[in-house]
C-alpha cells in the first residue's frame, strides 16, 4: 500500500518536471558547429558574414549571452555602434555578470559619447536607474526564479518540520531560520515580479541605426517637427507605440516619437 503511494507521488513529480523544469536544453552538435563556424569567420575578419551566421543562430532559437556578446563584437567591428550596444545589453540581460560584455558596451558607449562631444554635443547614453533597478538587473530571469524557489521551499519546509522539533532552543533556531527564509522570499518575490513585468512588457531599448532619420526624435509620430537628437547606442525606455512609431523617454527624461526601425528592444 505504502509502496504504491510513493510510486504515485514519484510519477506525479516526474510529470511536473516534464512540464518544463530543469536546466535549459543544451544546443545540439549542429548548433555548436554553426557557432564555431561563425567564430571562425570572425577570426578571419569576415565580420559581416560572422554577424549573419550569429543572426541565423538567433533565428534558430538560440538565446545565449555568449551568442549576443559575439554578435555585439561583430557589429562593433562593422562600425554599427548602436547595434553593438544593443547586443551587449542583451548579453547582459541573460548574464548580468558577463564582464567582457559590460566592458565592451562601456567602451562603445564611451566612443559614441566622445564622438558626440567633439561635435559639441553632450550626451547621456546610459539610462539613470534607481537602487532597486540596479539590484533587479543583478539577477537574470531564471536566476531570480531559482533563488526565489530555493528560499521559498526552504522556508516552507522549515515550517513543515516544526512539529518534529521538541526542544525549545531548536524551535527558536528554527523560527529564526524560517523568518530569514520568508523575508528573503518576499524580497526575491518582488524581484521576480519586477522581472516578470519586464518580460511581459519589455520597455528597455537601445537606439540603433537603421534609417536615414536615425537620431531624431519627433514631436508626433510621422511629423516633421523635430524635438531633439539622440545618439545611437543610447538606452531608452519605450512608453508607447503607434503605426510603426514608438514613443521613447531618454536618460534625461525627454520624450518623443521615433521610427520603430531605429529602436532595438533589449
Amino acid at each position: 500500500m505504502g509502496g504504491v503511494f510513493i510510486r504515485q507521488v514519484f510519477v506525479a513529480l516526474l510529470v511536473l518536471v516534464g512540464l518544463g523544469a530543469g536546466r535549459p536544453v543544451m544546443a545540439s552538435s549542429e548548433l555548436e558547429t554553426r557557432f564555431e563556424k561563425a567564430n571562425e569567420l570572425f577570426g578571419e575578419g569576415a565580420y559581416a558574414d560572422a554577424a549573419a551566421a550569429y543572426d541565423a543562430l538567433e533565428k534558430m532559437g538560440v538565446d545565449s549571452a555568449v551568442l549576443y556578446y559575439n554578435r555585439g563584437n561583430a557589429e562593433a567591428r562593422l562600425g554599427n555602434a548602436g547595434r553593438a550596444v544593443l547586443y551587449y545589453e542583451r548579453a547582459l540581460a541573460r548574464d548580468p555578470y558577463h564582464q567582457n560584455a559590460r566592458y565592451n558596451m562601456n567602451a562603445v558607449r564611451d566612443f559614441v559619447a566622445r564622438r558626440a562631444n567633439r561635435q559639441g554635443r553632450d550626451v547621456d547614453l546610459a539610462m539613470a536607474t534607481g537602487p532597486w533597478e540596479v539590484l533587479v538587473e543583478r539577477f537574470s530571469d531564471n536566476g531570480a526564479a531559482v533563488l526565489l524557489l530555493v528560499v521559498y521551499v526552504l522556508g516552507i519546509g522549515l515550517i513543515l518540520l516544526r512539529p518534529w522539533f521538541r526542544s525549545e532552543w531548536m524551535r527558536a533556531g528554527l523560527a529564526v531560520a524560517t523568518s530569514v527564509c520568508l523575508l528573503l522570499s518576499l524580497f526575491m518575490g518582488a524581484v521576480v515580479l519586477t522581472r516578470r513585468a519586464r518580460y511581459l512588457m519589455p520597455s528597455a531599448a537601445v537606439i540603433v541605426a537603421e534609417e536615414e532619420s536615425v537620431g531624431t526624435v519627433f514631436e508626433l509620430p510621422g511629423s516633421k517637427k523635430a524635438r531633439f537628437g539622440i545618439e545611437e547606442g543610447a538606452r531608452v525606455r519605450i512608453v508607447g507605440s503607434r503605426d510603426g512609431w514608438v514613443k521613447i523617454v531618454d536618460a534625461r527624461g525627454r520624450d518623443g516619437w521615433i521610427s520603430r526601425a531605429n529602436v532595438g528592444i533589449i
Partner: protein, 649 residues
C-alpha cells in the same frame, strides 16, 4: 557558477544596509543666444543677449567666444536668478552625504558692431561646471555692406513696448461689429500677401465702459490655411490703451492679442474670428465679481497670391518664403582616417523657419555618411519671426586623400522683392591622412563594472579603428541555450509556489483536527458507538455461515461489549454479569433493558461453548436481537457513567 554572483548579491542583503552613494553632478546648462536683428550692416551696432542657466554643485565657469570680425562696444553681466539650493541627506553616519544643487542664471548683454562685410561665426559659448564641459551652438552671422536686408513686417516697431499703435481709420474699422458699449475687432497688418509670407494680426477690444477684466479667449483667431505663431514677448501690460472716438462715442482701444500668421495656401482665405469673454462691472469695496460678457469679432479676409511660376528655380521647396542666408561649416579640414568630421549646414533669417528644409549633402566617395541631425530655433518677438535651422551631419573618412564637399545651392522666395533668390556655399576640401597610431588605446579595466578610463586616450581619439583594437574579443566557449520562457512563466513553477502553502495548510488543518479529536474524543466515541457496532455486526458476522459457532458468538459478544464500553465510557471487561448490570443501571439504563443486555451477554457466552450447532437462521436471529439491543441502549439519555457517578456524589 552561473548564479554565483546573484547568490552573493542575495547574501549581501542579509542584515546589511546598502549605503546609497549618490553623487550630485551638474546637469546640462541651457545656453540661449539671441540677436536683436537678422540682418546686420557693417558699422551698425546690434545687441546680443547670451543667457546661461546652470544647475550643479560648483560655480559655473562661462567662457564667451572671441567675437572675430566684430567690435565689442559694450558688455554687461547680470545674474537675475541665483542662490536657490536644495540639500538632501543620504545615508547615515559615515555614509552620510550632503548634496547641494545650485541653480544660476547668468546673462551677458553685449553690444557689437560689424567691422567689415562678410560671414563670421559667433560661438560656441563654453560652460564648465563640476568637471564637465558643455559647448553651445555656433551661429553664422553675415554682415552686409550698407543696404542689407531690412527687417520683416510693415511695422517692425509694433511689438515694442514703447511703440505707438496704428491709428484707427475707417478702413481699419471696416467690417467691425460695432457696439455702443464694447466690441472685438481684428486688424491684419496687410490684406494682400504671398503664400508663405507673414502677416501680423492684432485683436483689439473697444470699450466705452470702464472696469473691464479679461477672463479668457473662448476661441483664438486663426483657422485652416494658416501657420500661427505667438509672440513670446507680447504682454498686455506693455501696451498703452488708446482713447478713440467712433461715431461720436468715446471708446478705449485695448490690444489684447498679437499673432504672426503664415498662409499655407493661396486664394481668398478667411481668418476665423476670435471670441473673448470678459468681466464687466466687478471690483468695488467688497471685490464683487462682475458680469461676464462674450464678444466675437467679425471675420477678416485676406487675399493670398500664389508664388510666381516664372523663374522658379529648380529644387525650390514650397514654404521657403522670407529673407534667408545659407552657411556651411566643417569642423576640421585636416583629419585622419576614421576621425569624424561634422558638416554643419545652417539657414538663418526671417520667415517661417519651421517650414525650411535644409539641402542634402550628396554622398561622398571615401567616407561613411551618417544621417543628419536637425535642430530648429524659432523666435517670434519684436514683431518679427525668424531664427535658425541647422543640420549636423557626421562623415567618417575611410581612406586617405582629399574629400571634397561640393557647393550646395538653395533657393527661397523673397516677398519684399517679389523674386526668387538662390545662394550657394563654397566647396570644401578635407585632407585625410593615415590613421594615427594610438598605442593600444585605453587601459583595460579590471573592476566589476568594466568602467573605461578618462585619460583621453580612449576610443574616440583614434576613431573606430582604435575602438575595435581596445575591445575584448569574442568568447569561444560553446554554452548555447535555446530560447524559452523564464521559469517564472512556466506552469510548474507557479504550481510549486501554490502547492507549498497548501502543504502548510494541510498540516495545520490536520493538527487542528487531531487536537480537537483529542480534546473531544469521548463524545465522538459515544455518538458513534451504535453506528460502529451496527457496521461491525454487518461486516463481521456476514461470514457467519462459514464461521464456527464459537467464533460467531465470540464476535457478537465482543461487538456488544465494545459498544457498551464506548457508549457509556466505562470498562466492562473483566466485570461479572452482576457488576455489569449495576453499572448499566448507574449509567441511567432502565432496569429491564439492563437485564436484557446482561441476559444476552450471558446467552452468547453460553452459546460459545454449547455443543449444539444452531442453524443459520438462528444466527441471523441473534444478530437481529443484538442490533435491537444496541438500538435500545443507544436511546439512553445520559453521558458517561463516571459523569453520572460524580454528579450523583
Amino acid at each position: 557558477m552561473r548564479y554565483s554572483g546573484q547568490i552573493i548579491v542575495l547574501c549581501c542583503l542579509i542584515g546589511v544596509a546598502i549605503p546609497m552613494r549618490t553623487a550630485a553632478s551638474a546637469s546640462e546648462p541651457d545656453i540661449s543666444v539671441v540677436f536683436d536683428r537678422d540682418a546686420i550692416l557693417a558699422g551698425e551696432a546690434f545687441r546680443l543677449d547670451i543667457t546661461v542657466e546652470t544647475e550643479g554643485n560648483g560655480e559655473p565657469e562661462i567662457v564667451l567666444p572671441a567675437f572675430e570680425g566684430f567690435e565689442v562696444v559694450d558688455k554687461r553681466v547680470s545674474r537675475p536668478f541665483s542662490g536657490f539650493s536644495m540639500s538632501i541627506q543620504m545615508g547615515t553616519g559615515r555614509q552620510a552625504q550632503r548634496i547641494a544643487t545650485q541653480r544660476m542664471t547668468t546673462r551677458y548683454t553685449l553690444v557689437l558692431k560689424g567691422v567689415t562685410p562678410g560671414t563670421f561665426r559667433i560661438g560656441p559659448v563654453v560652460v564648465k561646471q563640476d568637471g564637465r564641459t558643455w559647448k553651445g551652438k555656433v551661429y553664422p552671422v553675415e554682415v552686409f555692406d550698407g543696404g542689407g536686408v531690412t527687417s520683416t513686417g510693415n511695422d517692425a516697431d509694433r511689438g515694442t513696448a514703447s511703440s505707438e499703435h496704428v491709428a484707427i481709420s475707417d478702413a481699419d474699422l471696416q467690417g467691425a461689429r460695432l457696439d455702443p458699449r464694447y466690441f472685438l475687432h481684428m486688424v491684419p497688418s496687410r490684406r494682400t500677401l504671398y503664400e508663405g509670407d507673414m502677416l501680423i494680426l492684432d485683436v483689439y477690444l473697444f470699450t466705452s465702459v470702464g472696469n473691464i477684466q479679461l477672463v479668457r479667449f473662448d476661441k483664438e483667431a486663426g483657422g485652416d490655411g494658416f501657420w500661427v505663431e505667438d509672440f513670446e514677448d507680447f504682454d498686455l501690460r506693455n501696451h498703452r490703451n488708446r482713447a478713440v472716438e467712433i461715431d461720436g462715442t468715446a471708446y478705449e482701444q485695448v490690444l489684447i492679442s498679437r499673432k504672426a500668421m503664415f498662409p499655407q495656401k493661396s486664394g481668398r482665405i478667411m481668418i476665423s474670428p476670435a471670441q473673448l469673454t470678459f468681466s464687466v462691472g466687478g471690483g468695488g469695496f467688497f471685490i464683487q465679481r462682475g458680469r461676464e460678457v462674450s464678444r466675437t469679432a467679425a471675420p477678416v479676409f485676406v487675399d493670398v497670391r500664389e508664388l510666381p511660376v516664372d523663374d522658379r528655380p529648380v529644387g525650390f521647396v514650397q514654404g521657403h518664403v522670407g529673407q534667408y542666408s545659407l552657411f556651411m561649416d566643417v569642423s576640421d579640414t585636416e583629419v585622419s582616417v576614421g576621425d569624424p568630421v561634422t558638416v554643419t549646414l545652417s539657414v538663418r533669417g526671417s520667415g517661417n523657419i519651421q517650414r525650411v528644409q535644409l539641402p542634402q549633402i550628396p554622398d561622398i566617395t571615401g567616407a561613411k555618411m551618417y544621417s543628419p541631425e536637425t535642430d530648429v530655433e524659432m523666435r517670434a518677438a519684436q514683431g518679427k519671426v525668424g531664427g535658425l535651422t541647422q543640420s549636423k551631419q557626421v562623415l567618417i573618412p575611410s581612406e586617405k586623400g582629399d574629400l571634397e564637399i561640393p557647393a550646395i545651392s538653395w533657393s527661397w522666395f523673397d516677398p519684399q522683392d517679389a523674386s526668387y533668390k538662390t545662394t550657394q556655399t563654397d566647396p570644401v576640401t578635407i585632407r585625410v591622412t593615415e590613421a594615427a597610431v594610438t598605442g593600444g588605446g585605453r587601459s583595460v579595466s579590471t573592476d566589476d563594472t568594466g568602467a573605461s578610463d578618462n585619460s583621453g586616450n580612449g576610443a574616440a581619439a583614434g576613431g573606430m579603428a582604435s575602438l575595435n583594437a581596445s575591445l575584448r574579443t569574442i568568447d569561444d566557449e560553446v554554452v548555447l541555450t535555446m530560447r524559452r520562457s523564464p521559469f517564472f512563466m512556466q506552469p510548474w513553477y507557479v504550481a510549486v509556489l501554490v502547492v507549498c502553502p497548501l502543504a502548510v495548510g494541510f498540516q495545520w488543518t490536520g493538527q487542528w483536527i487531531l487536537r480537537r479529536r483529542r480534546r473531544h474524543g469521548g463524545v465522538y466515541r459515544q455518538k458513534n458507538a451504535a453506528r460502529k457496532a451496527f457496521r461491525a455486526l454487518k461486516h463481521e458476522t456476514c461470514g457467519g455461515r462459514t464461521m464456527s459457532q464459537e467464533q460467531f458468538f465470540a464476535v457478537v459478544h465482543r461487538i456488544l461489549m465494545v459498544f457498551l464500553e464506548e457508549r457509556f465510557s466505562n470498562a466492562f471487561h473483566g466485570a461479572t454479569m452482576g457488576e455489569i448490570l449495576e453499572q448499566l443501571k448507574t449509567c441511567g439504563v432502565e432496569e429491564g433493558v439492563a437485564e436484557k443486555a446482561v441476559g444476552q451477554l450471558e446467552a452468547y457466552e453460553f452459546a460459545r461453548f454449547s455443543r449444539i450447532d444452531e442453524a443459520d437462521r438462528e444466527r441471523d436471529k441473534h444478530v437481529d436481537q443484538a442490533r435491537e439491543l444496541i438500538g435500545e441502549l443507544d436511546k439512553v439519555v445520559g453521558t458517561t457513567c463516571a459523569t453520572r457517578r460524580s454528579g450523583g456524589a
